[in-house]
């Protein structure tokens, strides 16, 4: 592809920046107003002395048509899974089945108040118990809390349980070990839980360096946090020895479930010796990412740790009805109410639709597609750990950078012109100029081939016309941004002219 034959304007590129919603509509416009008051009015200042608002908030003033056009236009400037392939490594951007959306909006789910009497929410509790049982089985860790709102929240919940267990045993500890390939949430969670992070390097295989691990494992260590498969997309072949070494010093093994999509029905974190796992239902279980959330981060633990889980937990009673129960040594609660129920409904619908065979096929296809893509791109980009991968793999633009001055960032931006969302870039940190690709099982063979072809074409452009790649993107609603300006002089809210 040359500059003269850049892709024609895609649907997204027909959109261009527009005014904020505060600048749309006539000053007296309105969309939805409260009905006329049918009870005696109460003067706010006399009912709440000194608290009547003196200057009203300056909210938008728009008619309904302007709202739909405004947000419609904003949506046109966005790229979602429905817009095209989204091979964002570690994020599992799979297709979001639409029946799940409809299910979460059923009045019998969406209309529930969290403090309704339990006899009026039996269906909701049954759904949550069903999801707990299914996730526990996939994890090989039978006790489950659905409370955490996200993966990082799940990590924290699990570490809190470990801390409570160590404290209860009169054996408080101070450190948590993580590999150098870990997601940033892992060390951030460690700090929030009052522990110190100890980092272990990866070895030449891209796996945990067993010798280095044994060196840092002492009786101050509370836990090891490990993503398996790891963020290079490789399965930790020493996993049984790793979890055994962790247990040998009285510490817990924590599995970051970000990459669970690779292994469902093949191997379970519980069977690998892990004591706890969080599941990102917005990755593995197809609930949508929502432009950043909401997600869900259920935590699955061993029977031994069940008594520390946050409460209350939905449970099935002997008579077949459902109730809430808080474990005797519970850490407390990590949020209000019971969890991101609306998200959990979607995850439940997914797991019921697929069943055991369906989930296994998901993982098998996710792994097969990643390996297909890896082989397709061999020789086009550097692939530092070029062996059978799990559901994702990491390649590098190091050669492109050295030979043509084209960096991973440039490749990612150029991919936008070809109609693809870029892979995860510059992660994991141990790979120079990293590009992490996770195609997921919901991309067709045609999609995989076209993604491969686009990346090949960009690599060729890097040689023939590096400035073309370095200047990309050209066809998106906006082009590269001045991010330094945004950070040096932060403008984080709209203000009327002259303020």
């Amino acid at each position: 592809m040359t500059r003269e034959s850049q892709p024609g304007p895609s649907r997204a590129s027909s959109a261009a920046p527009r005014a904020t919603i505060f600048e749309v509509g006539a000053p007296e416009s309105a969309c939805v107003l409260a009905p006329a008051l049918d009870v005696p009015d109460v003067d706010v200042e006399s009912a709440l002395p000194g608290l009547a608002r003196s200057a009203p908030p300056r909210l938008p003033h728009v008619a309904e048509v302007e709202i739909m056009r405004h947000y419609g236009h904003l949506a046109d400037m966005n790229f979602g899974v429905d817009s095209g392939p989204y091979p964002l490594g570690s994020c599992t951007m799979k297709y979001n089945p639409r029946i799940n959306e409809d299910a979460a909006r059923l009045d019998g789910f969406a209309g529930l108040h969290p403090y309704q009497p339990l006899e009026t929410v039996q269906g909701a509790l049954e759904l949550m118990v069903g999801l707990q049982e299914a996730l526990g089985e996939v994890a090989g860790l039978p006790a489950v809390t659905l409370q955490p709102a996200a993966g990082a929240h799940g990590e924290l919940t699990a570490l809190m349980c470990f801390k409570a267990a160590h404290t209860a045993a009169g054996d408080p500890r101070t450190k948590v070990v993580i590999p150098d390939t870990a997601h940033g949430t892992n060390p951030a969670t460690v700090s929030m839980c009052g522990y110190e992070t100890v980092t272990v390097p990866s070895d030449e295989r891209g796996l945990v360096d067993m010798r280095a691990l044994r060196e840092v494992l002492d009786t101050d260590v509370a836990a090891l946090m490990l993503t398996n498969p790891n963020t290079l997309g490789l399965f930790e072949t020493d996993i049984l020895a790793i979890t055994e070494a962790v247990h040998a010093i009285g510490a817990y093994a924590y599995c970051d479930g970000a990459n669970l999509n690779a292994i469902m029905g093949v191997t379970r974190p519980g069977d690998q010796g892990f004591d706890a796992l969080h599941i990102n239902v917005h990755k593995t279980f197809s609930t949508p990412h929502g432009g950043g959330g909401p997600g869900g981060g259920p935590v699955c633990v061993t029977e031994d740790l069940a008594r520390y889980l946050p409460g209350p937990l939905p449970t099935r009673l002997d008579d077949g009805s459902f109730a809430l129960h808080t474990p005797d040594a519970s850490i407390g609660r990590v949020r209000s109410y019971l969890g991101n129920f609306g998200v959990l409904v979607r995850a439940y619908a997914y797991v019921r639709a697929l069943g055991a065979q369906g989930l296994l096929e998901v993982s098998e296809q996710a792994v097969l597609s990643a390996n297909y893509l890896r082989v397709l791109l061999r020789g086009v980009f550097d692939i530092p750990y070029d062996r059978t991968c799990m559901h994702e793999f990491v390649m590098s633009s190091a050669t492109l950078k050295r030979e043509h001055g084209v960096r991973t960032l440039d490749v990612a931006k150029r991919l936008l012109d070809y109609g693809f969302h870029p892979p995860t870039v510059y992660f994991p940190l141990i790979v120079d100029e990293a590009l992490m690709l996770e195609p997921t099982e919901t991309e067709s063979l045609e999609s995989l081939d076209s993604l491969g072809a686009a990346l090949r074409s960009i690599a060729e452009e890097a040689g023939s016309d590096p400035d073309l790649v370095r200047g990309a993107p050209y066809t998106t609603p906006v082009r590269r941004l001045d991010e330094a300006r945004a950070a040096r002089e932060p403008v984080v809210r709209w203000s009327p002219q002259g303020e």
Partner: protein, 462 residues
Amino acid sequence: MRHVPVTCEQREAMLRGLGVSSADELFADVPPAARLGRPLDLPGPMSEIELAAHLQTLARRNAPATACVSFAGGGVYDHYVPSVVDHVLRRPEFFTAYTPYQPEVSQGTLQAIFEYQTMICELTGMDVANASMYDGATALVEAALMACRVTRRSRVVCAPTMHPEWQRTLATYAAAGDREVDYSLAVDATAGVCDPHDEGAGIERLCEGGDVAAVLVQSPNFFGGIEDVREMARLAHEAGALLVVAVNPVLLGVLEPPGALGADIVVGEGQCLGNAMSLGGPGLGIFACRQPHVRQMPGRLVGRTVDVDDRTAYVLTLSTREQHIRREKATSNICSNHALNALAAGAYLAAVGTEGLAGIGRACIAKAHYLRDRLLATGAFEAPWDGPFAHEFALRYRGDVSRMHTAMLERGYLAGVEVARFSAEWPSGGPPVSDEGLVLFAVTEKRTRTELDAFADEVGSL
């Protein structure tokens, strides 16, 4: 296999291309002892028709508050959600997108968040609002932790009139993070609010060690009472502490913003702004602060800039605060947030506008006052105190609360929330006022006078 678009034939060809005969061979790195070796024990798969019927069945086993005349509150409220809000949320470019890390193809999400941040600043009277937290409870915890960073202190005073589940959440985080929370601020049981001037347990006394990072207060509080936020701000600031105020944002069209009362950080549960109740989740954690503290703020933040063609554009900014860059020194571990709920709040606030929000606030307040008078007039309830309140209030039922709740449920009413249900949540061991017979009633703009009259008549004649 309907979720996987690769055909069996294509799959075979892909496997052949990799030189393997089955997908199972791709898992050779998994040690045999860690292999499951059997199918997962899960219920069988369902066709979409069966699944739709199954989900309908489960949904019908619930009696949603929206199908009742609901007076249940406690952070989640049965407000009207304009139709337009869900039609915005259903745009797949919003809900199927990831976090906007590639700004060139995420301007929709980014601009929507920028507008949401602006609206929250307008409502709260603060300078900066983040892109959202999980819910009000975790936003409160993050505010406490932020105050500790700002002041370099490690203890906070939490008003015992705060929502008990928020207190419990705070206590859970504090225990893990080795921080101390003091719940002993004095409460005036005759007013249902804190007494910040109390000699033995007022703010001045609790802060006299000079180690208190923040005073945390909710107003209206859990019991509906209006705290003296101005005085609490003054006293907290005198002690070198920050004041964190938890708000109900739907009331901020008519009530003074906490920014005008001296708050340093404002948090709140934003479910009431266009989000479904959904059994309490996903909600929306509102978080706003003052400009000088922005580098200690948790969560994502969108800023305005320009692209290479000098066009206005939006981007995630001040990201060095966050976990993916600062790792163990990040301001929080939060990654996924509640962006779609923030989008709903933005669309909701656009739909109602300044006048609409004020109208909703006035209607809630007027209807709550009307209902309280009607309920007291029945003689079945007594007022535990007579302080100012907004759209939620507590009364003592003279009879058996759970029997009353059951009887009213049969008549189609969710007759408020029984405070005693929270008995295990209070970190200090119990409620700050007697919860005997205490019922919380919340009234939204959806309730009609006819419903209020009928409810009072029926509950009064039990």
